[in-house]
Symmetry: C3
Subunit: 263 residues, 3 copies
């Protein structure tokens, strides 16, 4: 608990700069989520400044939600530079499984650079494991029986943290497996709540070298904030507003509502 508290405290104190190369749907809400937690966002797509931006950043988030060859090239340069500088890289393989193009991008990224945290929904993680799940939109919330094993295996394979979101969020370093139970159905009904989690995980990894803890903390922050928001309103428009209220007022004490276990 204390370790999670330290993460939110340090994000607010150190205000890590998170360099986001993310999809066009969530640029605004991802930047706002980071600001709400006290982090500093920068969003960019240009390969020409990838090396310079890594120099001033505490973490990198690459999210392939609206992929184009140019953007993927920027991601690879930024991630390789981050690897050399020992800056954490979070990868969100949005929509992998939906097209051969996305499958190839995900494989290219995973083979060419070192990813520290892979965060996807359960069907995306399953797809990365070679399990062919038919993706139905990028907010897919398919239940996958053996997702804990798949998550653990993928983490072992890539020597990184893997997070598979769903009703239960599974987080593993290839050895330990956490199951996080906080959250609310409404989070699946607004676009980009998963993408926001990726950016928050990057902020957390920017202040905490234990990326497993950083990722679990991020799942808890998003899940608990979603619960707080849903407790304030049962309407979807208000929920979005309340979710940002909850993120911006998230304090260490909120972790007392954390629901998680080590499997």
């Amino acid at each position: 608990m204390e370790e999670f508290s330290k993460i939110i405290t340090e994000i607010r104190q150190k205000s890590p700069l998170v360099y986001n190369i993310t999809n066009f749907v969530v640029t605004n809400i991802s930047a706002n989520a980071l600001l709400a937690l006290g982090a500093s966002p920068i969003m960019s797509y240009a390969k020409q400044e990838a090396i310079d931006l890594i120099k001033i950043s505490s973490a990198l988030l690459i999210n392939m939600g609206t992929p184009t060859p140019d953007i993927i090239e920027t991601m690879l340069i930024a991630a390789k530079t981050a690897n050399n500088a020992s800056i954490p890289v979070v990868f969100d393989p949005v929509g992998v499984g939906a097209s051969k193009f996305r499958n190839e991008i995900a494989q290219e990224i995973l083979s060419k650079v070192k990813i520290d945290i892979i965060k996807g929904n359960a069907s995306e993680i399953a797809n990365l494991c070679g399990v062919n799940i038919q993706t139905k939109g990028v907010e897919s919330n398919t239940y996958i029986e053996n997702i804990a094993d798949l998550t653990k295996d993928l983490a072992k394979k890539h020597h990184c943290i893997v997070c598979a979101t769903g009703k239960t969020d599974i987080v593993s370093d290839g050895n330990k497996v956490y199951a996080c139970e906080n959250g609310h159905e409404f989070l699946t009904k607004i676009t980009g709540s998963g993408c926001i989690l990726g950016s928050i995980a990057a902020a957390a990894a920017g202040v905490c070298n234990d990326y497993l803890k950083a990722t679990v903390a991020s799942c808890l922050i998003v899940g608990i904030s979603g619960e707080i928001a849903a407790s304030k309103s049962n309407l979807l428009g208000n929920f979005q507003v309340e979710f940002f209220n909850a993120l911006s007022t998230f304090e260490p004490e909120n972790f007392k509502n954390a629901l998680y276990k080590v499997l």
Copy 2:
């Protein structure tokens, strides 16, 4: 009435995947509007995955609000593939009339692929008919005397459904002409309410082969939701929140407030 009710029910039950190639201003709110109604959105710009994404989609929306040659190329590939797969294509010619570039794009799209539903504001529809209306921004709400005739003629010419939005929304298949009177002035004061209508029309066409009915239902859903939102608050910021509340709770019963007639 019952036919419109069936459309909203089936969107919520079947959760059609709507593939959106849309402008950069509305990606987030269009995805959220589709999720609020129970549909599944995917947003993409890459030609490399256009064919694959059509395979898993129930409908395609192409919106030229922020056009670039690359994006237009993707639209043409996606729409041609959709045509071959008998998947409905909705085209929103945002800002046609504002530049020669947009005029040429609109003509290229209309000549190279089969569009099932054209949705624009009245001045955009008039421009497609060769009537030179000076566009004043993309939220233009110019009143055009003979818009019903223009809409009908354009529908006849392109063998498709045409929807011209305005204080009264006109929808025609070239034969029948509907006039839909629901709506609220505030819908013209938030960016993208028209773009959202295009995405919703795609979702509706994804579950209903009668595209005339699907388009009228979409106008009614947006118009009635706007009225509900305006009844909750007379402030523009709150209106946006209430509009998403209304979309997310839209039920068949809401159609009892539908105001439309066949001209």
Copy 3:
């Protein structure tokens, strides 16, 4: 006071078309801010329509928040065309100082086209003056001792208006220097409030030839709207909603709360 009142009244009456070539993070909120004040927005990135769009626009805003070579090329064409047509050009050098790429873009723009209003946060303005301030994210709010002098010098050098935002917004034409004290800390915690100010300054310059007055009025509109919003809620999510409520109901009377002085 009366001169500021006239600006908001004329924006609402004339509804100037503001052509925005802006970053992907703020497209939606910038368009909505302009609509809330009664202006008409058009957002575009394509060089193919830059000349045509200037013909119908009252002002141009170029914002390099998410720069790519293609977009910068469009900005240069649009700005040069605007110069020839005597249409005001507002430049927001977002993130200058964060990368060599952004530094070069800013210098290219300032050397190749005539800018009428430069608006940045204090560290961006200092960077343009050759003072090396380490940028920490694009919402940087670093306090810079001699910002009033730097702002005045930059304005003199480029024969334009310069606005450096911060706790106090400094605006100068190279001769007179205004210090505007309205605003609220929350404006620095939502992404894009500075970008919105740039778009509003363009709208104001589109109806008022005195660009110094237009820029001061814009700072006051954003600052006072921020104060109104913060007085309605002390939560960040609600603040965003209330900020749009405040912009959409901003009236000449609101300037009675203006806090500014000529240094």
